[in-house]
């Protein structure tokens, strides 16, 4: 903070700007280190032996134990968990898009009775987090034999993201000029044709934003997956990892735990690197329009 105020005061004069800028940089660099250090440490630890992990956090491994990664796949079954996560993310995304796009279109662009009621109905859903309804959800899914099933887990995920998605996309839909639709209708596109051929391309930035946001939510979700999936062969990655860390009387192997953490980070970093711009643009859309 002091660096900040110093910079603010000196910032006005260009002569004092250099010092201020230095302080600002220092302040930011320290923060960047705090953010980055745990991740770097994780990568280093994933190459250490179990004994080295338990030594100083500053030390480097004497040899690079790629073996940890092998064990993460063979013994700790990270690969299987990852596959489950990919499957669950893909299914959740599909369900979400199939539900959210038509809903947002209709709510955003068509006039009919009950529209404002439905809009408010979905908005109220923004306040119902997935976690406090977990008990009735568990019981209901049990009654309907939906437990231990990756598809129904995905359906719950999609529903969780639905209110925000409808909210976000409705805004987009509203901003598309009506002329396009009228032209399409005159050209003989039906309602569905108009939605798919005209509206969806126009709403593309919104849809991409939605996909990017939802990806991280689905990929990282923990509580619902832990509760609704019990078969080890169907578990997603966050659950697999926490088992490695938490379950007592299991073989202890930090090397593969940290290797597992790195393996989970890779897709996240890849998606982030690819879509970073979309993501931050999307935040602006989501946030500012709110």
């Amino acid at each position: 903070m002091s660096a900040y105020s110093a910079s603010l005061q000196s910032g006005r004069k260009s002569s004092g700007g250099a010092v201020g800028r230095l302080l600002v940089r220092l302040f930011l660099i320290v923060q960047a280190l705090i953010v980055v250090y745990p991740l770097i440490w994780n990568v280093i630890a994933s190459l250490k032996t179990n004994a080295e992990v338990m030594e100083s956090p500053w030390s480097f491994p004497t040899t690079l134990n790629w073996d940890n990664y092998v064990r993460a796949f063979t013994t700790a079954k990270i690969g299987d968990y990852m596959l489950n996560s990919v499957l669950v993310v893909a299914m959740s995304m599909t369900v979400l898009l199939l539900a959210a796009i038509p809903t947002a279109y209709v709510l955003g662009r068509m006039r009919f009775r009950g529209r404002s009621f439905l809009t408010n109905f979905y908005m109220a859903g923004l306040f119902i987090g997935g976690v406090y309804i977990i008990v009735p959800l568990f019981i209901m899914m049990n009654d309907l034999s939906m437990l231990d099933n990756r598809f129904w887990l995905s359906a719950v995920y999609a529903t969780g993201s639905l209110p925000f998605s409808v909210f976000l996309l409705t805004g987009f839909m509203k901003s598309i000029p009506h002329d396009f639709e009228e032209a399409a209708m005159i050209d003989g596109c039906g309602y569905f044709g108009t939605l798919f051929k005209v509206i969806m391309p126009m709403a593309r930035p919104g849809i991409i934003t939605l996909i990017v946001f939802s990806f991280f939510d689905f990929w990282n979700e923990y509580v619902l997956a832990m509760t609704f999936i019990t078969d080890d062969a169907k578990k997603t990655i966050p659950i697999g990892l926490s088992n490695l860390m938490q379950i007592q009387q299991y073989a202890t192997d930090w090397g593969s735990l940290f290797a597992g953490l790195v393996i989970v980070l890779v897709p996240t970093i890849a998606v982030y690197a690819l879509l970073q711009k979309k993501l931050t643009e999307g935040m602006m859309l989501g946030g500012v329009k709110g």
């Binding site: 006005r12 600002v24 930011l28 745990p38 199939l98 109905f121 209110p163």
Partner: protein
Amino acid sequence: MVETMSMKTRRGLFIAACLLPGLALFLLFKVYPTIQIFQKSLYLWTGVGDEPKFIGLQNFVDMFHDDVFLLALRNTGFLMLVVPVLTLLIALVNASLLTQSKLKERGFYRTVFFFPSILSFVVIAILWSFIYHPTMGFVNSGLELLGLGDWAMAWLGDQRTVLWALAVTLIWQAAGYYMVMYMAGIDGISPDLYEAAGLDGATRIQQFFHITIPMLWEIIRVTIIFSINGVLTISFVIVSVMTAGGPDRHSEVVMTYLYSQAFTNSNFGYAMAIGVFIFIISLLLALISNKLTERGSH
């Protein structure tokens, strides 16, 4: 018209078809369970093959005589207050620093600071439980390196520090996310405003308080609610991995308590009553913070 359906019917059918999938999901996985927590919170129901028995508001009465629940509530309240305030403050300061100072590398910082918010909470919890490790952890061995070895302590093992330690983890996770939101907002503020203020002799700090914050106010209001709700969800994962509610329940939060009453003690009815309580509290908080941050002259 030779069409079998009138235009109006087709339109109606289209609307119905579009709304149906979303509504079906929403009713089944959101609305019905929500009704259920309200209804079943009035029952004594202990799971395993048990017939629910109506007991009126007894579960709610019990809640306020349950010391563990009250402690969990206090802990949650602490986190819901401290974490949003500090997170949003840090996010605001960083956002205005990055946008105003016009550093060449601002894109780099934005990328780096944002990164923790896309990490899995489980990954974060595991990493931080090693960061706080009493002997080989980054914090304590860092203190030792700086010659402050006496300050080293078991951050997660002491009731005086455990909530703060968890709060730091939560802030680390979220500050970048809100920073990016604010940066987007600040970019939308006309530079003329700052220029004019600069000509009027306003310092950067004055500009921060008199231009940046008022212009971002609508976004800040939204983020307060986001952040409070985020704490509720994330604290569950962070606590169950990092402290198991310890030491002596000084980091128990309402969500972990709800979960253990439901799935460890099989008190489904009671757990739902806790769910109802949290639901109402978070709704009230949203309304209150909305009201408090409302400004007549806008």
